[in-house]
Structures are given as C-alpha cells and as structure tokens.
Symmetry: C2
Subunit: 258 residues, 2 copies
DNA sequence: AAATAAAACGAACGTTCGTTCTAATTTATG
DNA sequence: CATAAATTAGAACGAACGTTCGTTTTATTT
C-alpha cells in the first residue's frame, strides 16, 4: 500500500492565498482535477486505468457517488451496485479505477492526510502570534470546507482502516492541537496574551474546527435554492466568515487581546 | 415501533445526586439492570423473551458485545455471527431478544434519548446562573460518562436510522445548545455575566461535552492497569474533575466572573 | 413424576455482497 | 482504414449475510 506522494517543497508554501475563500479555492492545490491526478499518480498499484484523463474523470465520478451515498447511509451499507448506479459506471469500469472497495477509504485517508499536512506545513508569515493563530484557523476552515465531503467521510469511516492508519488519524488531530497550543504559549511567553490553559483552548479550537465540517447543517444559513454557482460561493463565503468571526472573537476574549 | 416509556414525573427530578461521580452512579436511574428492564418493558414488540430476568441478562450480553465489536469496526461490519461469538449466545437466543439487527440501534437511540431528556428535565435548583450552568455541565459529563458506549455508538450509527429519527438526534443537540444559550443570556440580562456571543459559547460547550465521550483517548490519564474496580472509579472521577475544571475555568473567563 | 411452557440451539434458507470474467465496443495508432 | 490495445457492460461466482425454523434442553407448574 503506497503512502502516496508528499508535496514537493515548492508546493508547500507561499502560493496559497488566504485573503478570501474564493481566492483560496483558486490557489489550493488539492482539488478537482489536480486532486484526482494526484490519486492517479500516487496509487498506480490500485488504479489499473492507464490514461490519466480517463482515470481522473472516473475517479471523480466514483468519489462523488461514494460521498453522496454514504453521507446518508454509511460506507459499509453502500453496495458497489449502488455505487455503479449512482456513478453511472459499470462494475468493470469501477474496478479499473480501484482494486477493492476498501481502496476508496484508503484514498480518502490519503487526501485528507495530505490536506492536513499542507495545512501544517503552510508557512504562516504573520506579524503577531494572534495573526498567526487567526491564519491557522482560516486555513483549517477553508481547507475543510473545500474538501468537506472528504473530511466528513474519513471521520466516520476511519474504523474501516487498519489500526496503524487509525492511529495516524488520531495523530493528525493531536498535531493540530499541538500546533495551536504552541502558538498560544509563544504568545503568552512574549506577553502578547494573558496566561491561560493553552491546552484547553487549543483543544477547543480544534474541536470547533471539526464541528464545522461534521455538522454543516448547524452553520449553513440560506442554503436552499441559492440559485447560481456564483451565488452559492458568495453564501459559503458569508457563512465561513460568520463562523470565523465568532471563533476568533471568543478566542480573542480568552486571550485578553483587543 | 414503540417510542418507549417516558419518565414518570416522580423520577425526573430531585433524586439524582451530583455531588460526585460516585454518588451520581448510585442515583442515576438509567443504568445496569434498570436500564435493561426499561428496554424490556418499552419494547415488548421486539423482545420475544417473556421473563424479565432472562431478558435483562441477555440484553446486557448483546449490548456489551455490540459495543465491544462495533467500537472497533462499526455496526454494519459486525455480523450476527460475530455478535453470537462475542456474546457467547446462539443465533436463536439473540433473536429472542431482538427481531431484527436494526433493533439494536433503535434501542440505543431510545436509551440515549431518554438520558438526554433526563438531563434536560432535571430541575436544577442553583443560587446563580453560573451555578446553574455548572450543574448542567456536570450532569452532561456524568451521564455521558456512565453511558459512554451508548452515546458513542449512537453518534456513529445515527445514519442507520430513519430520517425522522436522525432529525430527532439533531434536535437533541440543538435543544442542549438552546438550554445553555438561555442560561447564558439570563445571566447576561441579570448582569451576572458580561455580554458576549451566547450562541457561540453554548455551541462550544456542547461540542466539548460531545468530544468527551467521542474521544476518551484524549482525556483518559493513567488508564492502563488501574487494578481494582474501586481504583478505576477513582481514576475516572479524577479525569472527569480535571476536564470539568478546564471547561468551567474557560467558561468563567469568557463570562468574566470570578 | 409428568406435563407444559420458555429458552436455547445451530443447520439451512434465500438473498445480496464483493469480485471476476468474457464478449462486445471504443479508442489509439500506423 | 486496419489492427491492436484498452475499456466497457453486465452476467456469473462463491462467500457471507440476516433471518428462520424444527428440534433439543432447561425451567416451571401440576
């Protein structure tokens, strides 16, 4: 089982634009064709299809269908016949993109892991610890919004993975908490923040970030009949900003900045 | 499908002791034999076994086994043969306590719903809004610790339920948020708390309560080889108190009390 | 001790699962 | 346009699933 490509250094930093969600979506490398091309490259042992173009199109249909079905009923309940119907592909077509049903979970895990690594590796050049924290939150929110079905799916299907991979998923969360905690404590040490239980606040932030992609129904205002795709993006931007504002306001109050 | 018994008024208030987790465990009505007796009474249409004593013993084995297996691999992956092996019961014995595999999820949902209702109905007689909030948090923590496998299981298997039941589960969470929000706003109105985004804080509290039973691995210190059952309870008490302290300290700071 | 009710058993049933196979079709290439 | 390679559709396969049921064992009553 390939643990997949890691980002080349040139990809890891500096190019991703956090100034708005719209900008983020056009600069984040893990999405759309790029994402599926990455899966195709990284999992040559799984994907039997030879031509990237075909593989990308088929993988997209497979994952879209998988997310659509198993968001409602779970991955184990989803049969490959359901998948075939929803994706409008034959069994053979599906089995030329994957080797076993389980591969789907593995690939999702790979993508989410890469996205989390991107988030962690992204060099935040900010003037203050507070700005650093805020950019970290923004990045997490943006990435998990863009890849919401992937993050959501992995959270609920982690138990299908091997113990080692499950441990790795937990580690991702612990790393995220650790990162926030370090930033908070740096700010405390430098006198920028008032002293507090950094570990608890870091944990709170990570759990709230998780809640964002696990329970979109709690945070999506005006989701029905949003009309054009452009309007939908606008609405998404609004929702993210509202959540981000609440999140950072609460954090700022705890850190006694402002 | 029976929606099960609701608590009689005499059971809903006043008798549950929040002064420590140990006291709570001896006064909370939804546990052990009482819990299974309740299932037996409420689901006569499902449970074919006639004698309560037998049913209680077998239901206990079924649910223990279910939680043990599906915590690791998920309910859908668990076959009834796995269950039969783990519970050390024959297929026939299992099918005299349930009518369909799905019944297991329904019964768990029923118990968790009842526990949540107990939590909400419990009349908190406290001197201040702050004390009221703190008792609410304590109750939530205690109940979800005592019934951790039930809460955990339902969170991950809600998708096996009907749309109506899924909606009901969401409503439980929204009700909890609503309750905390109301308490916070009451405290703000009375001048006990400094004004803030009550909705955000209420949401934060509920999400942190959820994290407690979803990710015990994050919060369990000294879990290995804890020796006797008494020592284990002591350790549990310690862990709850530590989490409760962090939770309330953070909350107090946001509310600017102290 | 006999009779009866309740519970437990586990092999067998029909169905559905993930996966494989093959004949037909499409695509690429000279 | 010819030919080879890749891709497709969906029938077929064995394993495993949830569930049933005739039978045996255990508990209770007469």
């Amino acid at each position: 089982m390939n643990q997949a490509v890691t980002m080349s250094p040139s990809e890891t930093g500096r190019v991703i634009d956090l100034s708005s969600y719209a900008r983020f979506t056009s600069t984040f490398p893990l999405q759309g064709e790029h994402l599926y091309a990455r899966l195709f490259d990284a999992h040559q042992d799984i994907v039997q299809t030879r031509k990237q173009k075909v593989a990308v199109a088929n993988l997209a249909r497979i994952f879209d269908a998988t997310f659509a079905i198993s968001a409602a009923s779970g991955f184990d309940k989803m049969s490959l016949r359901d998948l075939s119907r929803q994706a409008d592909m034959s069994m053979g077509a599906i089995y030329s993109c994957i080797s076993r049903k389980e591969d789907i979970v593995l690939m999702v895990a790979d993508i989410v892991r890469q996205s989390s690594e991107l988030t962690r590796q992204f060099s935040l050049q900010a003037a203050s610890c507070r700005a650093q924290l805020e950019q970290g939150l923004r990045f997490h929110l943006y990435a998990s919004t863009l890849l919401q079905p992937w993050y959501f799916f992995l959270f609920f299907e982690t138990r299908s993975l091997s113990d080692a991979q499950q441990q790795a998923s937990k580690q991702i969360e612990l790393d995220a908490i650790g990162w926030f905690e370090a930033q908070i404590e740096e700010g405390i040490a430098s006198g920028e923040f008032k002293p507090l239980d950094a570990s608890m606040l870091a944990n709170t932030l990570v759990v709230l970030l998780e809640d964002w992609y696990l329970k979109p129904w709690k945070y999506q205002a005006g989701s029905s009949r949003s009309g054009s795709a452009k309007q939908a993006l606008k609405q998404k931007e609004k929702n993210i900003n509202a959540y981000y504002a609440s999140l950072t306001a609460q954090m700022a109050r705890l850190l006694a900045v402002e």
